[in-house]
Subunit: 127 residues, 2 copies
C-alpha cells in the first residue's frame, strides 16, 4: 500500500510516516516511480510506534527495541544476534519501562480511589 492509505488506516499523518522513516522506524520499499510502498504489516507496526511514542518513549529508544517487539519468530531467536551489550540495553530498557508502568499505575489508582471515595461520600450523605 502507499503512504496515503497507510495514513488513512492508521490515522497518522503522512508527514509523520515520513518522519518515522527518517528516524529509521519504518523502511518502506519504493515503487519504480519513487512512491513509498508499505507491506500490510506496516499498519500494525505504525500502531505500535504510536503507542510507544504516546507512552513517552523517544524515537531513539523505539528504534533500538523495536526489532525485538515483534511476534516471536525464529529469525531473531538465534543467540548470535544478541551481543552482551544489546542484552544489557534491552534489560535496562525493560527496567525503565517497568518504572513508568509502576508510576502510571500508582497514579491511575489514586485517581480512581479519589473518584470512588467521592462516590461513597455522596452515597453516605444521601445526596
Amino acid at each position: 500500500m502507499r503512504i496515503g492509505e497507510l495514513s488513512r488506516r492508521t490515522g497518522v499523518p503522512a508527514r509523520m510516516l515520513r518522519y518515522y522513516e527518517e528516524q529509521d522506524l519504518l523502511r518502506p520499499d519504493r515503487a519504480v516511480n519513487g512512491y513509498r510502498v508499505y507491506p500490510e504489516a506496516a499498519v500494525y507496526r505504525v500502531q505500535q510506534i504510536r503507542g510507544l511514542l504516546d507512552s513517552g518513549l523517544t524515537t531513539d529508544i523505539i528504534r533500538r527495541i523495536i526489532p525485538f517487539l515483534d511476534r516471536p519468530d525464529d529469525i531473531h531467536l538465534h543467540p548470535d544476534c544478541l551481543t552482551p551489550e544489546l542484552a544489557d540495553l534491552l534489560r535496562s530498557e525493560a527496567a525503565r519501562i517497568q518504572q513508568r508502568v509502576e508510576c502510571l499505575s500508582r497514579n491511575r489508582d489514586r485517581i480512581l480511589a479519589y473518584l470512588a471515595a467521592v462516590e461513597a461520600a455522596k452515597q453516605g450523605a444521601g445526596c
Copy 2:
C-alpha cells in the same frame, strides 16, 4: 527550604523547579527578600512530577490531575469540589493512563520474553 536545597534533594535543576512553578505545578511561598521557600512536602511533590513527566505526561495534564494524587486527606474528599466535568476529566485521564500502562506492559513483556527465549536457546545449545 530554598530552591537550591530542593534541587539538591531531588536532583532536579533549579531551572526546572522554576519552570514547574511557571507551569503551576509548584507554588512556593516567598521570603521577604523574594527567595522561594518550599515546604518539606515539596520534595515528594517534585519526585511525583518527575515520575509523571518521565512517564510521558505533559505538564498540562499533570497540573490538572495533581490535586487528586495526594494521600487521601479529607480536604479534597468533599463531593462539592468535584464538578461532573472534572469527574469526567479524571475518568478519561485514568483511562488514558491505563492505555499507556497496557502498551508499556505489553512491550516490556515482549522484551523480557525475547531475552528469556535467547537464554533458553543458549542453554539448550549447551553454549
